[in-house]
């Protein structure tokens, strides 16, 4: 059965209701640089996870679970991800 290797590119962002003091500070820094059109900055996290699974569906399911269990905290964060296929390994 062949195995697929995927790279999940995961974006964890603060929920809109959560104040982001870091983003606010960066926005103010940008405005001081002359970027007066900057309205808002929100800072999140970018996580790459490489995993090898039988199907894309399985990879997607596992990454969803990882995000729910550990990578994001649903109380304060949202997440989204993209899967990129890296290689196919044909195994026994």
């Amino acid at each position: 059965m062949s195995q697929q290797t995927y790279k999940a590119q995961i974006y964890v962002t603060l929920r809109p209701s959560v104040l982001d003091p870091e983003g606010t500070a960066v926005a103010s820094g940008l405005q001081q640089q002359g970027y007066t059109e900057v309205q808002e900055v929100r800072i999140g996290k970018y996580i790459e996870v490489t995993l090898t699974t039988a199907t894309e569906e399985s990879a997607r399911k596992q990454v969803n679970q990882m995000c729910d269990q550990l990578l994001a905290n649903p109380v304060i964060e949202n997440y989204s991800f993209e899967l990129e296929q890296l290689a196919t390994t044909v195994g026994g």
Binding site: S17, P21, L71, N73, V75, I76
Partner: protein
């Protein structure tokens, strides 16, 4: 009464907590490595302050999956006492024993200071030795201590009397809020009242030699509860 203090990689207030329960209260105290799974003899389990797993990802996020945490959840389920201080509070919210989350302080700074805190009520063992609305001084030392929860959860916390400590000024008024916590929250309990999480450090304010002893009554309160049972 048996006290247990969990030691995660990166905990740094474990010995301070054990000093209070063992040396000041004179109670048997065990430092419990996070890989352990049996705490059945323990009456009060303390999750100490520090930087478990280097605060990687989010404070407390990785510690919540340490083997000991399953035992801590069972312990809480049985109605036994769980106290999470600072990083311990963060772990309790991550693992879901307490609602909400602790996020980056409003002004982004790590705050190391003494904070005035109001004891909201004394109906629980934790605070039975304080007078209601007493203003006490406890050290705080955190970068991610701003309490956050959705409006429904905050309403529930208020309604159920789960908010046990709030930041205040010397008169007990809600004007001072060092980290920007919603509702000035410094410490909350679960609905049952046996699980307490707080950002201020009562264990750092229990021995005269450190200048203030406002935190000692909290540990004595729990001890008194055990004697009464």
């Amino acid at each position: 009464m048996n006290f247990g203090v969990v030691v995660f990689p990166g905990s740094n207030c474990d010995r301070d907590a054990a000093y209070v329960t063992q040396d000041l209260l004179g109670q048997p105290t065990r430092l419990i490595w996070h890989q352990e799974t049996d705490i059945s003899e323990i009456d009060v389990i303390i999750l100490p302050g520090g930087f478990s797993y280097g605060d990687y990802l989010r404070c407390g996020a990785i510690a919540q999956f340490s083997p000991i945490m399953k035992a801590v959840q069972d312990h809480a389920q049985q109605g036994k006492f769980v106290l999470g201080i600072c990083n311990g509070f963060q772990i309790l919210t991550e693992v879901g024993l307490l609602p909400g989350a602790l996020i980056c302080n409003r002004d982004l700074h790590f705050i190391c200071d003494r904070a005035l805190v109001r004891v909201e009520h004394n109906h629980l063992s934790w605070t039975q030795n304080y007078s209601e609305k007493a203003v006490i001084t406890l050290p705080i030392a955190h970068g991610e201590g701003r309490y956050f929860a959705d409006p429904d959860t905050l309403t529930q916390l208020e309604h159920n009397g789960q908010i046990l400590f709030r930041y205040c000024n010397a008169q007990g008024e809600m004007t001072s809020n060092p980290n920007g916590s919603l509702k000035h929250i410094a410490g909350i309990t679960n609905e049952r009242g046996n699980v307490l999480g707080m950002m201020p450090h009562p264990e750092r304010a229990s021995d005269d030699v450190l200048g203030k002893t406002d935190g000692l009554a909290l540990f004595q309160g729990v001890l008194k509860a055990a004697v009464m049972v």
